[in-house]
């Protein structure tokens, strides 16, 4: 052995051991990727800068409900709050659009841009597993942003009441809505946003494209409602994925709000439910298709 070799040996010969413990395989790999992505969606474990957008938007999503609950607690007036379970999520359209536009690229663009994908795909998971883990994390993240204010509304209604026990009983019928309405919103818009983001390694393009799609669809729906009349104006509302999700939510609670966008169309609710399902499935399929093909 030469002097050089023994010198480097002295430096490096400290650690390597063989590993005989368990190897958890594909399922563990997918779970790991899901949790890591969910944390990334809120900037957890990242720099402070990465937390600004997700936490800021989450605060925007919760603030109105929290303020309304606080006012209701201080000034107990019947029916004073402008917010309820039926209109709150649709009111978050802009916040949710921005959240998906900012965080879907956060989850997927970097892996393509920095070619981390070739490492992921050379681990114990399949390409579609990667797509589904990322999508699952995105849906969960949007679900959390929607679920938090619904919980605040629920707690506000219960805690502001004179008789908390009775209020809990009254509010119990709203629990399915509190739990499932956020999911009905989260699934289609996350799938749509992630499918768009998966298409480019450039984060700014992805964000721009998602915002464009959400704004353009809302604008087109609005213009068509104004510029046309009758059935066409009604059907035009279906262009907006948030209207579709809201209709699906109405389907869950059993009836439309006549003053809301869905109610004004007068269309049967199953159409909105079907469209929501289609958007979610199509977005998922597009993301899976993309990751089956993307070079790694």
């Amino acid at each position: 052995m030469t002097a050089r070799e023994s010198a480097t040996g002295a430096i490096y010969d400290l650690g390597y051991r063989n590993y005989d413990g368990p190897r958890l395989g594909r399922r563990a790999a997918v779970t790991t990727l899901y949790w890591q992505s969910l944390r990334a969606a809120f900037g957890w474990g990242r720099s402070g800068k990465a937390k600004i957008v997700p936490w800021g938007l989450s605060a925007f999503a919760v603030a109105p409900a929290a303020v309304a609950a606080a006012i209701a607690a201080l000034v107990p007036l019947e029916g004073a709050s402008p917010f309820n379970y039926d209109n709150y999520l649709f009111g978050l359209t802009a916040v949710l659009s921005l959240f998906v536009a900012a965080q879907a690229p956060e989850l997927v663009s970097g892996d393509q841009r920095h070619r981390v994908l070739s490492l992921y795909f050379s681990h114990a998971l399949l390409r579609v597993d990667y797509a589904l883990a990322k999508l699952g994390a995105m849906i969960t993240a949007v679900f959390i942003v929607c679920f938090a204010p619904m919980v605040v509304l629920f707690l506000g209604a219960v805690l502001a009441a004179q008789d908390v026990g009775a209020a809990l009983g009254d509010q119990a019928e709203n629990l399915p809505q509190v739990l499932f309405a956020p999911l009905i919103y989260a699934a289609p818009i996350s799938a749509l946003g992630l499918a768009i983001a998966a298409w480019t390694p450039r984060r700014a393009y992805a964000t721009g494209a998602i915002i464009a799609v959400f704004i353009v669809t809302a604008a087109v729906a609005g213009i068509l409602e104004q510029a046309t009349s009758g059935r066409l104006a009604d059907w035009a509302q279906l262009v907006n994925p948030f209207v579709a999700a809201d209709g699906a939510r109405d389907l869950l609670v059993g009836g439309p709000n006549p003053d809301a966008a869905v109610g004004r169309t007068g269309l049967p609710l199953w159409i909105f439910g079907l469209e929501t399902l289609l958007i979610a499935v199509a977005g998922t399929a597009a993301a899976m298709w993309r990751y089956r093909r993307v070079a790694a």
């Binding site: 050089r4 390597y16 590993y19 190897r23 563990a28 790999a29 490492l119 050379s122 114990a124």
Partner: protein
């Protein structure tokens, strides 16, 4: 069971590009050099072993598992160091390597523990807590090696591991590869276009050129003595060769040298006398060994008659 076994493995890109052309061979565990010019098909071959690419036809088995059908099972026991950059800039080496350990199926505690060990093994210390974006090329190569080793693979696939490194960095990386392969018994395939590197670390050589297998054999068989005597003279190599041929000894000119066929000891005296009589200056007298370069230099002549 062979480490890697391929049968008529072929990969086409589109109509015209034939990246791998009917590779058939078996290799046993060890440090295997995969050598070929840029574009010879090395990376394509590694990616097929990983299941990142599907072969157009033919088959490949890694540790007895089929690459097209048993990808996840294979990849659980394989570490891969790609040729290109593959590291996210915004996380630290510790976080990234430990994440990759968990992606390979290690439980969280084991992943953390092995990350610390493996980063020490590749020579990353305090800097491992800083974001990877600020690392030098040498440090990034070490992180790439660490993430390939974190789950204690049975097979390590290294694609140009010394890419972009300065000479000192190359030496260190090659030492690391050799130590990892020999001392820890991890079968390793090192793809490189630099024969010198392959010669230093590998025990077995797979040579491919234009997607075809040139040779698969232990490295020693490439560099054995040829029974040729190389005689380098000042000038007058032609005259010397003529004189030797006249004396009934096979000799041919190669640059300033004359290659003399030496089946026995008789040519030594003839060479000495001929140089003396011609009054030439003798620069070098050596037994010729095969060199790895010959493998590639001779190939085009064979291919184009």
């Amino acid at each position: 069971m062979p480490l890697i076994e391929t049968r008529a493995l072929t990969k086409r890109y589109g109509e015209h590009v034939l990246a791998l052309d009917g590779l058939t061979f078996e290799v046993e565990p060890g440090i295997i050099g995969l050598v070929g010019a840029n574009g010879a098909g090395k990376s394509t071959f590694l990616k097929i072993l990983l299941g990142l690419l599907d072969p157009t036809s033919g088959s490949a088995l890694v540790m007895g598992l089929d690459v097209t059908r048993q990808g996840p099972e294979i990849r659980q026991f394989v570490g891969y160091l790609p040729e290109h950059d593959c590291l996210p800039p915004d996380v630290s080496a510790t976080e990234f390597v430990s994440h990759m350990g968990r992606m390979s199926g290690l439980p969280a505690a084991a992943a953390r523990e092995r990350t610390a060990e493996v980063l020490r093994h590749v020579g990353l210390y305090e800097e491992r807590y800083r974001p990877i974006g600020g690392y030098s090329t040498g440090m990034k190569q070490r992180v790439k090696l660490a993430q390939a080793l974190v789950h204690d693979p049975k097979l390590l696939l290294l694609d140009e591991p010394t890419n972009g490194l300065d000479p000192a960095g190359r030496d260190e990386m090659l030492d690391l590869v050799k130590r990892t392969g020999t001392e820890f018994g991890i079968a390793t395939v090192v793809a490189s276009h630099l024969l010198g590197e392959i010669e230093r670390v590998c025990s077995f050589l797979l040579a491919i050129d234009n997607g075809k297998l040139l040779r698969a054999a232990p490295i020693a068989s490439f560099t054995e003595r040829t029974g040729m005597l190389g005689v380098e003279v000042d000038d007058g190599a032609d005259a010397l060769a003529g004189r030797l041929t006249a004396a009934g000894i096979e000799a041919r000119v190669e640059g300033r040298s004359v290659l003399v066929d030496c089946p026995d000891e008789r040519p030594y005296d003839v060479v000495r006398d001929a140089i003396d009589e011609l009054g030439l200056g003798l620069v070098r007298l050596e037994h010729r060994r095969n060199r790895l370069e010959d493998l590639f230099r001779d190939q085009p002549e064979v291919a184009q008659p």
